[in-house]
Symmetry: C2
């Protein structure tokens, strides 16, 4: 296998980072001015801001507003190299990775490859359900949602129409909750204006959760208020509800009930993306890689894992830390310092997660906030949610665009992104299937 | 064949408009408050602002900024129905159209289906060249351009690298000229920062034109200045140059020269989109439909054609009017009035094109303007171009976003849309090919 071209051997120690998410990007940025040569590898040429995927899926934000070109983050940097590539295998013995564009030696390897949708082995659900774990999938979901209404217009059978208008979301965590709220607001404010020919009193949005409450892991008050807000917007919240199967038309519940829907959105769980070449022994719960307090992968001396893919167990976090941006960013920040310490022969520092709290928004003026010493819900939580997410978005222009989009939607009860766009060449080579 | 569902027979005369471009949208809007029932049909659910496709292709504007959801244009209107559908055939005898979602009767049919890329019968060029005649194609071109640089990084053979870095644009009209200028600005300001590993002095941009000058049809001064501006930005302008063939790797010119490139962008001509069922006799030059001074299709009493697809010959416009937005909008405006006149038994008015002038921009501060009584070039023309295009964009929010994007690019010499986004579900059903 040939080597990846254009990355010089120049005496600097090489840190290869796989994944440009919260963890990988933060690490690469923190090492910008170090003595290391940095190689960042990602399947896409952009960083994606996962917490707002649901707003792309519901036509509230354009995809470009929550993405940032990785090259732009490292313009003019001679010691940082970026490549679009997929990791195929780690060859730890030879300190090299194999990717779909070639092989590359490393001195330090950092796996920040994140997690993907977990269907818990149910292949029917995997085949028929719609996930939302990447920007591409969020756009696919937007297309699915919009296409359903267009299809419904062309139907006369009420059962077929209901199945197109009904949406079943599985998973009452923040992703499922926020998506259900946004869909309900589309139903309440926008869809009846766009489709005066359809009767939206027939449209049902179900949020299914296997546990006894939504926003499990949040404070009791936030869970209760979250459910109340969802119901206020018209979402049918079903807790203690376990999905057995889905055939593309009907959702089969464990208690024998069925729900007819063309669209099952699966936000019920995630699992670590697979890494080949490191053996099965280091893979723990949820497909995550077992690491020590320095994020060093078990049985390795120069392979680290950070973010969603890392499983670091502590007394407080017996099953590993929560798979959220804050953990990823804090682990990346510490690892940058530890790599520099290691080079200087200094002792490494152990990771300690500082939980800054949890936020989730359900809809206009409705959100929940659990901060370290206080928990509150409603308008103040919603304003805090807006502010925190706005500040977290990468790039001043993106921040400006997201702000304008939000202000616009708030004032007009409308958005203007209900577009079924399909990048394709319509004649000639490389014909693409239509997504709609 | 079943009828299109949900469109009532309510005693109102039905105007069916095919195409939501400049002509079709303007007509539907002008008839909003009429006594007609309006049915607007388009393959997409959005109006696209064609004059700025080249900025989408060169990562200057997001696709959503130059598109507008057609449903949003007619919210809450009970007598306007929109359907995503493709016209398959006109059944003039029964006053009905056949589409891929069903059949529909009409009282008046208006064909506003526009034009597509004309490869003049060369199938090699059609197969290998990249067109830019729809938003989907513009995004496809953006992906092609960005992917070329990523590929070049992984190559070591200088000939392969050159072929990836070289771009050949065929057609020196406004589309080809504006695209060449925008690509040259990417090369001059942005690409060397994003790809410090590549040598951009090797990147060549060719603009090929069969006629003796670019911007043919513009004033002599504008043609000359346009060429000068392109050359100032580094574009190699080749006039009197005729492309014979292209095999995906080399462009073969009539004089025996070849140009090595992976990317041939074809902006050399357009032809009317085909309409089936009306016979060959009514099809004129460039695949356009022959119409009289009222845009009535030859030999028909209730079928009209407006915009790019219409061929109306006059003393001044022997070969039909120019295929530009202004003609489309003016024809649509007149037809709306004429349809109302016809209902009242009044005589129809003949179309007379008011040419408001032509604009084309080459790059930062560089543009040409030919107004009815004056022609000028340079900064003033560029400001006029910006203003006219900004005002022509549909939607206040779109206008605001385009303005911010332009101001941002102008001040920072950068954009942030260099994204290779592919809407897809990564696992399970409806797997899509990767565009990149």
């Amino acid at each position: 296998m040939k080597n990846i071209a254009g990355i010089p051997e120049n005496g600097k120690k090489r840190v290869v980072i796989i994944g440009g998410g919260f963890a990988g990007l933060k690490l690469a940025k923190s090492l910008k001015k170090s003595e290391f040569q940095i190689v960042l590898v990602d399947k896409n040429n952009y960083h994606q801001f996962q917490p707002l995927f649901y707003q792309v899926a519901t036509a509230g934000l354009e995809p470009s507003a929550i993405t940032f070109p990785l090259r732009k983050a490292f313009q003019n940097q001679q010691h940082i190299h970026f490549r679009i590539a997929a990791l195929e295998k780690v060859d730890a013995e030879n300190q090299a990775i194999q990717t779909d564009i070639g092989r590359l030696k490393y001195d330090y390897l950092v796996l920040a490859i994140g997690a993907d949708t977990n269907y818990f082995g149910n292949q029917n659900i995997q085949r028929h359900a719609t996930p939302m774990k990447s920007l591409g999938e969020a756009i696919h979901l937007r297309n699915t949602i919009l296409t359903n209404f267009e299809k419904a217009l062309n139907e006369t059978d009420p059962e077929v129409i209901d199945s197109l208008l009904n949406f079943v979301i599985v998973g009452g965590g923040p992703t499922g909750t926020e998506l259900a709220g946004a869909l309900a607001e589309m139903k309440n404010y926008i869809l009846p204006k766009d489709y005066p020919e359809l009767d939206f009193s027939r449209m049902k949005i179900y949020l299914l959760e296997a546990a006894s409450k939504v926003l499990n892991g949040y404070s009791e008050a936030s869970s209760i208020k979250g459910k109340k807000y969802l119901e206020k917007l018209g979402v049918q919240v079903m807790t203690n509800t376990f999905v057995k199967d889905y055939d593309g038309k009907a959702v089969f519940l464990a208690d024998g009930q069925t729900l007819a829907t063309d669209t099952l959105i699966w936000a019920a769980g995630i699992k670590g993306n697979p890494v080949h070449g490191l053996g099965a022994a280091i893979i723990g719960r949820g497909g995550r890689l077992k690491v020590d307090a320095h994020n060093l992968v078990e049985n390795h001396s120069n392979i680290f894992a950070i973010g969603d893919i890392a499983l670091m167990t502590t007394e407080k976090y017996e099953n590993g830390h929560p798979q959220v941006a804050q953990v990823a960013i804090q682990q990346a920040g510490l690892l940058a310092k530890n790599l520099k310490r290691q080079e200087k022969g200094q002792a490494l520092k152990a990771f300690k997660y500082v939980d800054k709290g949890s936020l989730a928004t359900v809809g206009r003026n409705l959100a929940v906030a659990d901060l370290p010493f206080v928990s509150f819900q409603g308008f103040a939580a919603w304003v805090l949610w807006l502010f925190v997410h706005l500040m977290a978005i990468l790039g001043v222009k993106n921040r400006l665009f997201v702000f304008i989009n939000w202000a616009w939607s708030y004032l007009t009860y409308d958005q203007s992104l209900r577009l079924l766009i399909n990048p394709r060449k319509e004649s000639g080579k490389e014909e693409m299937e239509n997504v709609t």
